[in-house]
Symmetry: C2
Subunit: 213 residues, 2 copies
Amino acid sequence: MAIRYPNGKTYIHSDKVPPKKQLNKQLTSFSKRGMSLEDDINASNQYYLVKGKAVIHKKPTPIQIVKVDYPKRSAAVIKEAYFRQASTTDYNGVYEGYYLDFEAKETKNKLSFPLKNFHDHQIVHMQQCIEQQAICFVIMRFTTSERLFLLEAVHLIEYWNNQQQDGRKSIQLKELEKSGYEMYYELSPRIPYLKVVDQLIAKLEHVDTLAIE
Amino acid sequence: MAIRYPNGKTYIHSDKVPPKKQLNKQLTSFSKRGMSLEDDINASNQYYLVKGKAVIHKKPTPIQIVKVDYPKRSAAVIKEAYFRQASTTDYNGVYEGYYLDFEAKETKNKLSFPLKNFHDHQIVHMQQCIEQQAICFVIMRFTTSERLFLLEAVHLIEYWNNQQQDGRKSIQLKELEKSGYEMYYELSPRIPYLKVVDQLIAKLEHVDTLAIE
C-alpha cells in the first residue's frame, strides 16, 4: 500500500523505530492526531477559523448533571452525571453568510454505509434545517479504505425514508459515488469540505437564477 | 406594581394560596417556568421550532470528563468531570437562511449593565461571526424591572473596546435605550426576538441595496 502523505499522517514503519521512541510518541498530545474523523474535522474547523474562512464548531456532548461537589478553594467537581442524546447534529456554524449544519460518521464496512449510524432526531433536525435554507450534509468515512464522502442531507433523508419501503438498511458505496461528493485528505485543512460547500452554494444560486428567469 | 400578565407569568399573591398547594406547585416540572432568562429563551426557541419559523438551540455546557463507570446492565455513569469554559456564545441556529448567533445575560443592577457579564472569548467569537456575515447579538435583561433589550454585537464590541480608553465597565441603561432594541414579553413566544431580527435583516438588505446603487 502506498504511503499516504496527503492525509496529513506520517507513515512510520515500525521496524525502523526503537520501541522506546514509539512509546514516547504515544504519550504526547499529538498521538491521536489524524486518528479519528472527529479529530480531522476539528483540525479543519480550527484551520478555517484561524484563516478567517468560516466559524464552525463542534457542539459539546450533552450531559445530565445529577451531583456536583464544591470543594473549598478549588473548582466544582461533577460527581454524578449521565450522557444525554443530542437533539441536533454535532457541527454547525457560519460560512460567508451561509448557515452550515452537519454530522460526521464513520464505518468499518467496506462496501456500504449502515443507516443505523444516524438517529431519528438527527434526521428530523436536518429536515428542519433544510426548511430554513441551511446547507446541511453529512461527512462519511470508510475507515478501511479511508475514502471520504460529503452527502447532502436531502439525499440522506431519501435513503432514510426508503428504508421503510425497500428495506435497505444501508447506502451502497456505488450509490454514494454517484449521489455524494468524494473528498480527499490534504495537509491543511485535512478535510477541505468547504470546497464542496462552494459547489453546493453555486448550485443553490443557479437554482435561484433559474427561478427568476 | 402592576400584575404582569403579558410576560406569561401568573402572579399569585402568597396570602391567598394555602402553603400545601404552593409546595405542590414547586414540585411540578412547571415550577421554574418563566423564572430565568434562559428558560424564557429556550421556550421561545421551542415555539419557533414547532411553528417552523427557525431552528435555534442552546449549546450544551462543555464538560471535561475524567472518569466514567460502565456498570453492568445500566447506563454509563460519569464519576468525575469538570466544567470547561465555552469558546462560543450559548445560542445559534438558522432563520430563513440567516445564521443567528447570540448570548443571553441578566443583571440585578437597575441602571447599568456590567460588561463583566461577558468574556474575552465570547467577544472574539462574535467578531469572527460578524466577519462571516452572521446576525450576532446579545439579549440582556434587567431582572428587577424585567426590561429586555436586544443589542447588536457590533455595539457590544464597541462598549467592550472602549473599556480600555474611557474605563467604563458597564453600559448605561440610557445608552442601551438608544443603541439597543427594547423587547416586551408575550405569551408565545415569550421573548419574540425574531421580530427584532427581521428589522436587522431589513437594515442589512437596505445597506446591500445602497451598495448596488
